[in-house]
């Protein structure tokens, strides 16, 4: 056979491996899900890496009630484990197929072995399923025949056929050929594990957007019976109470982001004025000390707030000493001008830190410019205005655009720690609202609505970001992302 057939076969083989790996990460295709008690969120991968799911969470009670034998549970786990090892071997084989002929042959042998192991694992799972059904109380376990059984059998069988066909079609490797791979692919394989991590934690969650179209509560199964289409979208915008809520939350969000954007020149001014302190030591000291608050968590900021503004705190002591107040109150419970307070805390924490980037920018401005300006008779303020500010403008512009793109994301932590039952109406920003709705509440609309809001937020933010990028390209001829 020709070289090109084997090349085509290898490409088909890689595609098949990718499919198999996907199947191992999708709960719907989990061949170990043979009981309704195993959560619909567990994939083959999950079942394998956390034995606790099967041994403790799922079958703990059935085991005590003797609805299932311990040996059956063990068989299920080892079946899943062996099947997963087969999948892992296939993945390794696909990596080897990037090498020279000798490596490819090795890869095909590994693929063959992996498929056999996978089929053995799958068969063990089948056996376990039989063992489970022998128990008289099996209906308590809600047995289901997993779709994954068939799928994995088919995938592994196809792989065996393909591997054998490729082995036959592949030209013999030369006598003294060594295992070798192009640096092009070697580099790719080196970075591959990290790409898998990115895919798992940044791209796979997008699959969770499907909760927006179902009736779903935390801890429940997701099934097609609960599919409701765009019902929750209509509910979100149709229900007047809900609409009022959203208007309130968006007002808070835009107000807080707006204050932030309107004052985003502060760090720049901070840096410029700091640079005017000509002696080195005090300047360094100020820079170091004002960045400290950036490095403590919002919980600690709240703790600081609590220490100073509560009834026994510093502020009351000062006010009473100055004779402004008769007796102390807890200022944290006073919910006037919440937006301003939140902004002040953010500034206290972040101003010194945000200034660092401008300080770095100032130090990279050519000192000759200042000298020339001085010779020409420019005073201090003119030098600031005509040299420093233009020198920092592009950094400021980039950060401003990013700030505008992030207008919906105020972050969760600050508002989570400062919220209490009294200030909710003015502190609840979109991120906090999604948290309060989705995880802290147990109503039937919680998960779908929180998902929809997160989804819309992401889409709007990405659109804003790319628009900001366009603007930047038009005005400066440079992109920001």
């Amino acid at each position: 056979m020709t070289k090109s057939t084997s090349a085509t076969l290898i490409i088909i083989k890689r595609a098949l491996v990718v499919l198999t790996c996907f199947a191992a990460f999708f709960p719907a295709f989990n061949p170990a899900k043979m009981s309704g008690l195993i959560t619909g969120n567990a994939s083959l991968f999950t079942n394998t890496i956390s034995p606790g799911i099967i041994f403790n969470d799922v079958f703990n009670r059935p085991l005590r009630m003797e609805w299932i034998e311990y040996s059956t549970i063990q068989t299920i786990y080892f079946g899943a484990l062996i099947t997963f090892l087969g999948v892992a071997a296939l993945a390794a084989a696909a990596c080897l197929s990037f090498g020279n002929t000798k490596l490819r042959r090795l890869g095909l042998v590994v693929a063959l072995g992996g498929s056999v192991v996978g089929i053995v694992g799958n068969t063990i799972l089948r056996v376990a399923y039989g063992m489970m059904n022998e128990n008289a109380n099996v209906h308590r376990l809600e047995p289901i025949e997993p779709l994954g059984f068939i799928l994995f059998y088919v995938l592994f069988a196809a792989m065996i056929v393909l591997a054998v066909a490729t082995l036959v079609s592949l030209p013999k490797s030369e006598e003294n050929e060594k295992f070798q791979m192009d640096s092009k692919y070697r580099l790719f394989l080196m970075i591959l594990p990290f790409l898998v991590l990115v895919a798992l934690f940044a791209y796979l969650p997008l699959w969770g957007w499907r909760y927006a179209f179902f009736n779903f509560r935390l801890g429940q199964e997701l099934s097609m019976e609960n599919f409701v289409g765009f019902r929750w979208f209509e509910f979100l915008f149709g229900n007047p109470a809900r609409r009022a809520d959203i208007v309130r939350v968006l007002t808070n969000t835009f107000a807080l982001s707006g204050i932030g954007i309107a004052t985003s020149w502060l760090p720049m001014v901070f840096a410029i004025f700091l640079a005017e302190i000509k002696s080195n030591h005090p300047r360094r000291a100020i820079q170091t000390l004002t960045t400290i608050p950036n490095f403590i968590s919002w919980v600690l900021v709240y703790s600081v707030a609590f220490a100073i503004f509560s009834t026994e705190g510093f502020l009351n002591w000062m006010l009473m000493n100055l004779g402004i107040m008769e007796s102390g109150t807890n200022h944290l419970m006073d919910n006037g001008s919440m937006w301003l307070k939140m902004w002040l805390w953010g500034t206290w924490k972040g101003l010194g830190w945000s200034a660092i980037i401008y300080i770095a920018g100032i130090s990279s401005i050519d000192p000759q410019l200042y000298e020339a300006a001085t010779v020409d008779g420019a005073g201090r303020f003119r030098r600031m205005w005509h040299i420093t500010v233009p020198g920092l403008a592009s950094t400021f512009f980039v950060l401003l655009l990013l700030g505008i793109a992030n207008v919906l994301s105020n972050g969760l932590e600050q508002y989570l720690v400062f919220q209490n039952h009294a200030n909710r109406s003015t502190i609840e920003v979109l991120d906090l609202y999604i948290y309060n709705q989705g995880l802290a509440s147990q109503t039937s609309s919680a998960v779908p609505l929180a998902t929809i809001m997160g989804m819309l937020k992401s889409i709007i933010s990405v659109t804003l970001l790319f628009s900001a990028n366009k603007v930047s390209k038009l005005l400066r001829g440079e992109s920001i992302v």
């Binding site: 969120n41 070697r186 400290i292 919980v299 609590f306 009834t311 980037i357 969760l412 990405v462």
Partner: protein, 299 residues
């Protein structure tokens, strides 16, 4: 004529200098006074602290608060979890950022441009809180210590910082190593890693401070497993509890002792978790400016 000009501006100059000095002194005091205030309150006589009478100077200095809290099992456990995640999480993140940052500078890589974008674009979108949570649940990382570590290994921003830094190193150094027959791993370990120390120091601090301060992941992911709560999560619970008690106290006359101990406990735990940051941070400060300047603007 020229002298005149200088004389004229010097009046304004002095005024500006005074204003500037006063402003920065005040702001610096505002930034650090709270830490001083927390500290004197944790080492002073507890009775005075609870009634809010320690304000500028400590009185009746003692350190029993710290020793007492160290014996609380719940806190010791939380501290252990926090230290473990800080060490493991930071080490894995820094090594990964260094290695991936190095790899993406290699033009020879298959699909390099696409791969780089695939990683970097994740900085700008996320699926949202609920899908993220369900994903973590699906992967078995809820109520599981590794839920703190594994998702935080790949940090695109830190990868950008390292990549930009490596690009500023002369290419000849690496090439000469290649000439001598070194592979990618050897070059990375022997040439690139030592040269990247300043930027690695910067991202180590970012990573360590991030892990040390993290609490929302503890709140969201570890709900059913109190033994995995981080220190900040415990502190959050104490503070929430204490501020609720504060409400009740003003309305009725409940047992005041509870409030007293709560104030002291939350102050001491806070100070205890700030101290490590204060100890490490000043030494790392000098690296930030350079690292950030290279990375953040070029993004």
């Amino acid at each position: 004529m020229k002298l005149d000009h200088y004389k004229k501006s010097s009046g304004g100059d002095i005024a500006f200098n005074i204003f500037n000095g006063v402003f920065f002194t005040l702001f610096t005091i505002i930034c650090i006074f709270p830490f001083y205030y927390l500290f004197i309150n944790t080492i002073s006589d507890n009775e005075l602290v609870s009634s809010g009478r320690i304000n500028l100077l400590p009185q009746g200095i003692h350190f029993t608060n710290y020793t007492a809290l160290m014996q609380a099992a719940e806190l010791g456990r939380a501290l252990f979890i926090t230290i473990s995640r800080t060490v493991l999480g930071t080490a894995s993140m820094v090594l990964t950022s260094a290695f991936v940052g190095y790899l993406v500078t290699k033009d020879a890589m298959f699909g390099r441009k696409f791969i780089y974008r695939f990683i970097i674009i994740t900085m700008y979108f996320n699926a949202g809180l609920i899908p993220w949570f369900m994903n973590m649940h699906m992967l078995g990382l809820t109520n599981n210590f590794w839920g703190y570590i594994i998702p935080a290994i790949v940090q695109p921003f830190n990868i950008i910082l390292v990549k930009t830094y490596i690009e500023s190193i002369p290419k000849e150094l690496e090439e000469s190593a290649f000439m001598d027959g070194a592979g990618y791993f050897t070059t990375f370990r022997a040439i690139v890693l030592p040269l990247c120390k300043p930027i690695l120091a910067t991202i180590t601090v970012f990573g360590a401070v991030g892990h040390w301060n993290a609490f929302t992941d503890s709140i969201i992911l570890m709900q059913a497993e109190p033994t995995l709560y981080t220190l900040q999560h415990r502190l959050y619970l104490y503070l929430q509890f204490a501020s609720d008690i504060g409400d009740v106290l003003r309305e009725g006359s409940l047992d005041v002792d509870l409030m007293l101990s709560n104030r002291v406990v939350s102050l001491t735990v806070s100070m205890g978790s700030i101290i490590p940051i204060l100890c490490v941070y000043p030494f790392m400060q000098r690296y930030f400016q350079k690292g950030l300047m290279l990375g953040a603007v070029k993004g």
